[in-house]
């Protein structure tokens, strides 16, 4: 049982409030992703769990035990760093072995365990090399092996994939997911990459300015963003957000008329994901404007439409072609989710099913 509870934790640096008071429970065996733009306090939060950063107030409990005053080594955690944090003067073997050595595991057991871990992350042949002789992906594998070698209660991962190239990131992502499935260790994972968050997480905590603005499963976060920030942050290309007003069951903005089930209201923002818009044949469509750009992505074409000052993006078929500046019409697909938000507070408004 290794549940992590953050109770009313707060972090200040002098007068600067990095993480305002809040609570968070990470359940046993869960893969929790802290997601947010840089400087949103996600790394600070993780470092507080690790004990690398002191908490200003509040409590941290791991498996029911208060660990506020315990040094990192007594918290039974393992951490993977963005820059790997490998010991450059040690070989791969010595790197992986180090945590065991510090905990007084005997030589024979260490050798066996290192070999097991190296095989698990496919490093068996590289044990006698130094980190500087490895590629980025291999280094990250060493860091992983070093983290899992002594089966800690909690894994902490601070943007472990962001130093790798795009292709490797996707492979490593799958490996991480598999590893978590295999070991079942509670994992906290920090990233600014929403794709990583969506694919890896059991639950995602979206953070903004130190505060968790939505904590939910990836599916829920995608389908029902709690506010404008989450709506704009999750999804690629990001959700179309247009300012307007609701009149007689119809959301209206320049060139846009979408039926919604919401009482009349000013200052409403409508949100429609590009993948839930389709190209329509004529001007009776909900959204009318001129074609601004076409971007072929391989399996589809991103169609950007311009209506007055507003730009909207839709994911159309790969073979769609039309001249730039030609009249263009978009309409929500049948059953598309229309999201409505309050302009002033940014909060989600209810009754938004199309």
């Amino acid at each position: 049982m290794a549940e992590v509870r953050l109770v009313d934790i707060e972090k200040r640096y002098g007068n600067f409030l990095a993480v305002p008071q809040q609570s968070l429970t990470i359940e046993d065996g869960e893969f929790l992703v802290l997601l947010g733009p840089s400087g949103c306090g996600k790394t600070t939060t993780m470092r507080m769990i690790a004990g690398l950063e002191e908490i200003t107030s509040g409590d941290i409990q791991i498996a029911g035990e208060r660990i506020n005053d315990k040094p990192p080594k007594d918290r039974d955690i393992a951490m993977v760093f963005q820059n790997y944090g490998l010991y450059p003067h040690m070989t791969v073997r010595q790197n992986i072995e180090y945590p065991l050595k510090l905990r007084g595991v005997d030589k024979a057991a260490r050798t066996k365990r290192v070999q097991e871990m190296a095989d698990k992350v496919e490093l068996g042949a590289l044990l006698d090399r130094r980190p500087s002789e490895l590629s980025g992906g291999q280094r990250q594998r060493v860091a992983l092996a070093r983290a899992i070698v002594r089966t800690p209660k909690i894994f902490l991962m601070d943007e472990p994939l962001s130093n790798l190239d795009a292709k490797l990131r996707v492979t490593m992502r799958a490996e991480l997911k598999h590893l978590h499935h295999e070991l079942g260790v509670t994992t906290v994972y920090v990233t600014h990459d929403q794709m990583e968050a969506m694919t890896l997480a059991s639950r995602v905590a979206v953070m903004r300015e130190g505060r968790i603005v939505q904590l939910d499963t990836p599916k829920k976060i995608y389908a029902e963003p709690a506010n404008l920030f989450v709506a704009g942050f999750i999804g690629s290309p990001s959700m179309n957000l247009v300012d307007g007003a609701v009149r007689n069951g119809m959301f209206r903005a320049e060139g846009i008329e979408v039926p919604v089930s919401l009482a009349d209201r000013e200052g409403v923002v409508i949100g429609i994901r590009p993948e839930e818009l389709e190209i329509a044949g004529d001007a009776s469509a909900s959204i009318n404007g001129k074609l601004y750009a076409l971007e072929l992505t391989g399996d589809s074409t991103l169609v950007t439409l311009r209506s007055g000052q507003t730009m909207l993006c839709a994911r159309g078929p790969a073979d769609f072609e039309a001249p730039i500046d030609a009249p263009c019409h978009l309409t929500p697909k049948p059953g598309a989710r229309i999201h409505l938000f309050d302009r002033a507070s940014g909060q989600r408004l209810d009754g938004t099913r199309h």
């Binding site: 760093f81 010991y87 180090y98 945590p99 510090l102 500087s132």
Partner: protein, 312 residues
Amino acid sequence: MRPAPFPIGNKFCPGDPDVKEKTLSYALLIPAFIIVLATTLYPLGYSFVTSFREWDLTKQRRPSGFVGVENYVHAASESGFQNSLWVTTIFVVTSVILTLVLAMSLALLLRRKGRMHTFTRIILILPFAMSPALIGVSYRFMFNPEFGVLAKGIGAVFPALEGTPWLASPDLAMAILVITDVWHWTPYMTFMCLGGLASIPRETEEAARIDGASNLRIIFGIVLPQMKGVLLVTAVLKTIFALKMFDQVVTLTGGGPGTSTETMAFFIFNVGFKWFDMGYASALAWILTAIMMLISAWYVRMLLSERKMAKA
């Protein structure tokens, strides 16, 4: 090769512009080259030639008879030089080790940015800003048994040491010479170590903390191994400076008591400008140079293999 963006050459400027530019750059180097030639290379060559000749400055204006390697052979058996070699060895070894240990310890203490950050650094650099000759003079005053502030201060704390003739005892004089040198060089070396520490990725230490290493273990097992390159460079520099150390001997101990602090540089100076045996002095100077080159070469080899290990 990409074509030139516009036509250049004979049509617009006479001669090839590349050659012209090169000639100009060499021409600009000539003054610097002449100065180096006149002040460094010529004296070096002259002293090398002189080291194979007999030259008594009281009798001859120029080096006279060629004596082969006699000056070098003489050095091998002459007691004054043997003594200075021994004195220098003791001085270099103790001052290099002490400076490095102190500098590294200070750097470890100062690496964290605190409120006193700037202040400590300014204080720290002061000893290095002082002229070595002046340091010698001040320490001589401070260790004067009659009125020296340090001599009196030590006497006040440890009454048994009151009136100790600090600079009149061979061992104590050497110790004080080493202290002045360590005091002078530690700041500079501390800054080098601070630079080295700043380049160590913070993650390695944090990873070690999480892996379960104690503070001491982090310093000796994680930080110092990564500092090896910087420490080697620091050691090379400090060794060379210590081998050449001259000012403090002149102003602090004058080589005494007896010949107990007669370092090589000081001894060579005496041979040449007190006893006017220029031939022998030149030979000794070249022996000192050879020693420095050997030590440097050894350090550089260590450094290269270290680099190779870190890079390969």
